[in-house]
């Protein structure tokens, strides 16, 4: 396992930066540069690099899609949100249509934000490509098929030229897929969701999104701590504040930054990556949540430090 690459990091619905948001970033960057001089483009680049991503960039707006580079020559993805479209474009630019590839896709669940990118996933239209879609839901294939064709989409699923296969996985078993040991765990979410644990080359990545952790059930908490145990990276649904998850948004199927920190600390994980960002949050809000999460990690730390990051579209985490 070499790297994790994020193609879509928003929950519920893709979002786009507005003109007003871009303008406020430009204003903030210029304000920060007031009175400074830049002797070269390299100086200018360094200045930009030191700015918070909320000023110099954006967390992005695609719905969930994460690529895990395993070191094998086949692709491994988690979820088919709108982020799979730019992933597919990059794969096509790299390989072209004449060089068939294999794509292994692990589905957390089949809610719309996690499947909506597939109709626009170009490799699915290319003969010779192999696409294996794995998941724990019995209705996995049905969910992906029915978003194709009129009146929802002009292209029928049957028109996709790639070799597409759906593979049911059972929680509790360990599978060897694309050179990686994979297991899955049932999570609390409307209609169920599944978290995945990927291990290869001594590295472990957890993909756990759309999962509500109530923590009052100690057996359930223990099971998740075991699932996260000693992970190098935990990609974690931190969509809401803790107060929201236990009040007005209880049973909405999502979790918080605070619970993410606590589970990772109990599990001895090395890095927590906040994921499935709330679409109504602007970049400044996500940066503030990240800073607060790092502070909470300091407050609650009893062992080794836990690195805390916030996923953004285009982010790469080297393992």
């Amino acid at each position: 396992m070499k790297c994790v690459r994020f193609w879509g990091t928003r929950g519920s619905l893709p979002v786009a930066l507005t003109a007003a948001a871009v303008r406020s970033k430009v204003v903030a960057a210029l304000r920060g540069a007031a009175g400074r001089s830049f002797a070269s483009d390299a100086d200018l680049e360094r200045y930009v690099d030191d700015l918070d991503i909320a000023v110099s960039g954006t967390y992005g707006g695609h719905s969930p899609c994460v690529e895990i580079e395993t070191g094998c020559n086949e692709y491994v993805l988690c979820d088919l949100g709108s982020g799979v479209r730019p992933f597919g474009q990059k794969a096509m630019a790299r390989h072209g249509a004449a060089s068939p590839q294999t794509y292994h896709v692990f589905m957390s669940h089949v809610h719309w934000d996690h499947i909506m990118g597939f109709p626009l996933f170009t490799p699915a239209y290319i003969p010779g490509n192999r696409i294996r879609i794995y998941g724990g839901h019995a209705e996995l294939e049905e969910a992906l098929r029915r978003q194709h064709g009129p009146p929802s989409f002009p292209v029928e699923f049957s028109a996709l030229s790639a070799d597409i296969e759906f593979v049911h996985l059972d929680p509790g078993r360990v599978y060897d897929i694309a050179g990686t040991q994979v297991s899955l765990k049932l999570q609390r979410h409307s209609g169920d969701s599944y978290g995945y644990r990927f291990t290869s080359d001594g590295k472990t990545v957890i993909y756990s999104t759309d999962s509500e952790h109530q923590l009052a059930d100690l057996n359930e908490t223990e099971a998740f701590v075991d699932f996260f145990r000693d992970a190098d990276l935990v990609i974690f649904d931190a969509m809401y504040s803790l107060a929201d998850t236990i009040s007005i948004k209880a049973d909405w199927g999502h979790s918080s930054n605070i619970v993410g920190v606590e589970l990772c600390q109990m599990a001895g994980a090395r890095q927590l990556c906040l994921f499935h960002h709330e679409p109504i949050h602007g970049d400044e809000s996500i940066s503030r949540v990240l800073a607060e999460t790092r502070r909470y990690e300091e407050i609650s730390r009893t062992g080794k430090p836990l690195l805390v990051t916030a996923a953004y579209d285009g982010m790469e985490i080297r393992l």
Binding site: L242, I258, R295
Partner: protein, 158 residues
């Protein structure tokens, strides 16, 4: 595999009002003694937990609070949680507070948290807890908002 213990201490003990408090000891779990202080100031019950409230002991806090909250709900009298002695609170502890707040809200009774230490205040801020629970900077300010007779009783005891 058992959960690692993070800050095992949760001892309910006498707070600043111990001279007039009624000491209560509850046997809440096998071999676990929980002490806490509570004090009735006119129509307001003031409860003072002390220590670190975390995954290992939050349920004990809930068990200790339940009879007091039931009593306050039945009497329709407010409750103040004096957090002067609380050094840390985890998500489980905050959940216990939320459950208490829901119970009191359902009974039409106010419950407030007062006198947060700076670190606990930070945790409340990070959790966005001020949106779901009344928080006051001191016990006195909470009583000032909740009950004039309780405030008088508090001032008289100083």
């Amino acid at each position: 595999m058992p959960l690692p213990a993070i800050g095992l201490r949760l001892a309910f003990r006498f707070g600043e009002y111990n001279r007039s408090s009624q000491r209560e000891k509850l046997q809440l779990a096998a071999g676990t003694k929980v002490e806490f202080s509570s004090r009735q100031l006119a129509d307001v019950a003031v409860v003072a937990p002390v220590g670190q409230i975390d995954h290992s002991n939050a349920q004990k806090l809930q068990q200790a609070l339940t009879p007091m909250l039931d009593q306050a709900a039945a009497a329709r009298t407010p409750v103040v949680l004096d957090f002067t002695g609380v050094e840390y609170i985890s998500s489980m502890g905050l959940r216990v507070l939320m459950v208490a707040a829901k119970q009191m809200r359902g009974a039409g009774v106010r419950i407030a948290v007062a006198a947060l230490q700076p670190v606990v205040q930070e945790i409340f801020d990070i959790a966005r807890f001020k949106h779901v629970m009344e928080v006051f900077p001191s016990v006195r300010s909470a009583l000032h908002d909740l009950s004039a007779p309780a405030l008088s009783a508090y001032d008289a005891a100083q």
